[in-house]
């Protein structure tokens, strides 16, 4: 098929995943740093709720929310609502 494209090479996909995973880890490190700095009153942290200060609250919430979203959609909603594509036609 003519030209080779960037993600045709599995090594590039792996590289992308590596970059992504390292970003995720950097974010967690930044979170620790941020908690530390705001506790030491170096920078002000604006929060609405106490739990926002917990380590990795947003990370945890985002991850769990999406896992729940996918599991509920796949194992509860889909079996309930899935029909053949011509369901309404006859």
């Amino acid at each position: 098929m003519g030209k080779k494209h960037i993600f045709d090479d599995p090594r590039n996909v792996k590289r992308l995943l590596k970059i992504f995973f390292s970003f995720v880890i950097i974010l967690l490190i930044l979170d620790v740093l941020y908690i530390f700095l705001s506790k030491a009153h170096v920078i002000h942290r604006h929060i609405n709720y106490k739990w926002e200060e917990f380590f990795g609250f947003y990370a945890f919430f985002g991850f769990v929310a999406c896992v729940i979203l996918v599991l509920v959609s796949k194992y509860i909603l889909r079996p309930l609502v899935k029909r053949r594509e011509d369901y309404y036609d006859n």
Binding site: L27, Y34, Y49, V64, V67, K74, L77, V81, Y88
Partner: protein, 601 residues
């Protein structure tokens, strides 16, 4: 310098002339309409104009203030972008209907009284249904009819509310309405149908993906946002809106995960985004209303951009189901890039437009939760956060991933046409511009803005939220748990009228129609029997009497037959000679007299 031309009329009258232009002149003319409208808008003085007395009603055709100017600006911008996008379709129906529809939306937001508000509201339905029918497929036709029925019903609900409201107050002035009394609830519900509230929503997810490629871009901008405007105008601070909005933000994301048609995924995420706006209006503080309006402004752009990128994919490949797509980044790199900008904007990544508006609503909810009696706003905040993660999941990752990356479906097509790329480019530029430099947007919001999106905590927490959502997607995909796309249809609330309604109709048909025909046969039998009997009852009776006399008089055989026939015909046709008729009458009177005489005696 000031002008006072009705914004709606520029679009509507302008649209009628489109079919008379040809070639390049047509393209230039069509792009000139929204530009001229925008210039007019810049010089419109605030206040009421065109006070008309119509059939004893005080009408205000043009009312201008900060709230509707904001919607006016974005409607003009998206009209220009969409027109550039559809220049290559050469379909006059789509052009005229598109401008009529956009004009109707402008008419609604700039209306200064309930009557003109309602007239333009109905025109919205007409313009939009034309855009659906313009696709000219059987399913589009059917979806268009369903769409029309729902909106005609919604229009009637709104209309009856307005009539009752006018009856009670004697005024058509557009005022804040508090939910009390039937008229306010009817207006509330009428607007709610256009706003796609849960259970009232399936007209949207049913019809939008069936429209033409350009039509869907038009549709995504106007109907729901006009309803959001109407809620902001009439029902700010109505608490039930918060919970309606939370429902809108939460339920569609589950559907979006399992939906196969990518434009339908976007339709679900449209409801999800409008949910944030409805929550903002329900909270009703200056911050939250600002947030709702800013998010409406941004949503028109990034949702338009996403629909445009999916339209471009559909235009080139002829496919829109996730099962038929994948790997298009190879042949449509620009479309891929623009789609990713739209995806980042709707997901509220820092430096993209959603980031500066969605969080205003959430901040308002968080602030509200500290007021006495509003502790439940914490739940609102948590669900909105869940919905933020969810929207990234389906609109931010799923759309680009399944269309442009994922497994290669083998489409080797050309990049989207130049005009489509330009339109997407403008929208993408605006999404980034507003994200990086939100000040111009903040300056046109209804209330003064004291909100700073770019704090360290906001940037860090939002990035964390999104990256870990992406992490969940990646891990679930690698583990094979992520639901594979399936060619299937997912039931939604439209099942009520598409299947249950049909079943009820059939049951009634099977049960009541036989009963009906049974009753009919009885009535028919009795009446035809009676009619047959009375047709010649007199003649038969006379024959019965006369034959005895004739037999006594010695008539037999043929002569008797002739006599019988003659008498039968004479009586049934009324051709008895006058003498006999008189004799019968006289003898009848005599008979009566004799009876009376004997009775007296």
């Amino acid at each position: 310098m000031t002008t006072n031309i009705l914004p709606a009329f520029i679009f509507m009258i302008g649209s009628l002339l489109i079919p008379f232009f040809r070639g390049r002149a047509k393209s230039i003319y069509m792009m000139a309409i929204p530009v001229a409208g925008f210039l007019n808008l810049l010089y419109l003085p605030t206040g009421d104009h065109y006070l008309v007395n119509f059939a004893g009603l005080e009408l205000v055709l043009l009312h201008v203030d900060r709230l509707n100017l904001l919607f006016g600006y974005i409607y003009h911008i998206i009209s220009l972008i969409t027109v550039i996008y559809i220049l290559n379709f050469k379909n006059n129906v789509e052009y005229v209907a598109g401008f009529m529809y956009a004009g109707a939306a402008l008419g609604v937001v700039f209306a200064g009284d309930f009557f003109s508000f309602f007239v333009f509201w109905e025109m919205l339905t007409i313009g939009s249904v034309m855009l659906i029918w313009a696709r000219k497929t059987k399913s589009a036709q059917a979806a268009g009819y369903r769409y029309l029925l729902v909106h005609v019903f919604g229009g009637l609900v709104l209309f009856s509310g307005i009539v009752l409201h006018f009856n009670q107050t004697g005024s058509l002035e557009l005022v804040k309405i508090s939910l009390s009394g039937i008229s306010s609830y009817l207006i509330f519900l009428g607007i709610g149908i256009n706003c796609a509230w849960p259970i009232l929503h399936p007209w949207l997810t049913d019809a939008y993906p069936e429209s033409t490629i350009g039509g869907t871009v038009f549709l995504s901008a106007f109907t729901t946002k006009t309803a959001v405007y109407a809620l902001a105008r009439f029902f700010p601070g109505t608490e039930i809106l918060i919970w309606i909005g939370v429902g809108m933000a939460a339920f569609p994301i589950f559907y979006a995960v399992i939906e196969n048609d990518l434009r339908r995924v976007l339709a679900y995420s449209l409801i999800n985004q409008v949910g944030f706006m409805v929550v903002g209006i329900g909270i009703g503080t200056q911050l939250s209303i600002n947030g709702a309006c800013a998010h409406a402004f941004n949503d028109v752009l990034f949702k338009g951009l996403l629909f445009m990128s999916m339209g471009a994919v559909m235009y080139r490949t002829g496919k829109i189901k996730a099962t038929d797509l994948g790997g298009l980044y190879k042949s449509m790199p620009w479309t891929t890039l623009f789609c990713c900008v739209g995806a980042a904007s709707i997901s509220a990544f820092p430096l993209f437009s959603g980031f500066v508006s969605k969080s205003m609503v959430m901040a308002a909810a968080a602030k509200g939760s500290y007021l006495p009696g509003q502790a439940s706003y914490v739940i609102v905040w948590l669900i909105l956060l869940f919905a933020s993660a969810g929207v990234f999941h389906h609109a931010g990752i799923k759309i680009p991933f399944f269309a442009f990356f994922g497994h290669d479906a083998g489409h080797r097509v050309k990049e989207a046409p130049k005009n489509m790329l330009i339109a997407m480019g403008i929208a993408a530029f605006l999404c980034i511009f507003i994200g990086v430099y939100p000040k111009p947007l903040y300056s046109i919001l209804p209330f003064p803005v004291d909100y700073h999106p770019y704090t360290i905590s906001h940037v860090l927490s939002q990035t964390e939220l999104l990256f870990f959502s992406a992490l969940a997607f990646t891990l679930l995909l690698l583990a094979g748990i992520y639901p594979s796309e399936i060619r299937a249809l997912n039931l939604d609330a439209d099942w009520i009228y598409r299947k249950l309604g049909k079943q009820i109709y059939r049951t009634l048909d099977k049960g009541l129609n036989p009963l009906n025909s049974f009753c009919e046969s009885i009535v028919r039998g009795v009446t035809t029997g009676l009619a047959l009997f009375f047709r010649d009852a007199a003649a038969k009776l006379s024959l019965f009497v006369a034959v005895n006399f004739w037999l006594l008089a010695g008539y037999r055989d043929k002569r008797l037959e002739i006599k019988k026939n003659r008498l039968y015909n004479d009586i049934s046709q009324g051709t008895l000679s006058i003498g006999i008729a008189a004799a019968v009458a006289v003898s009848f009177i005599l008979l009566v007299l004799i009876i009376i005489y004997f009775k007296e005696a």
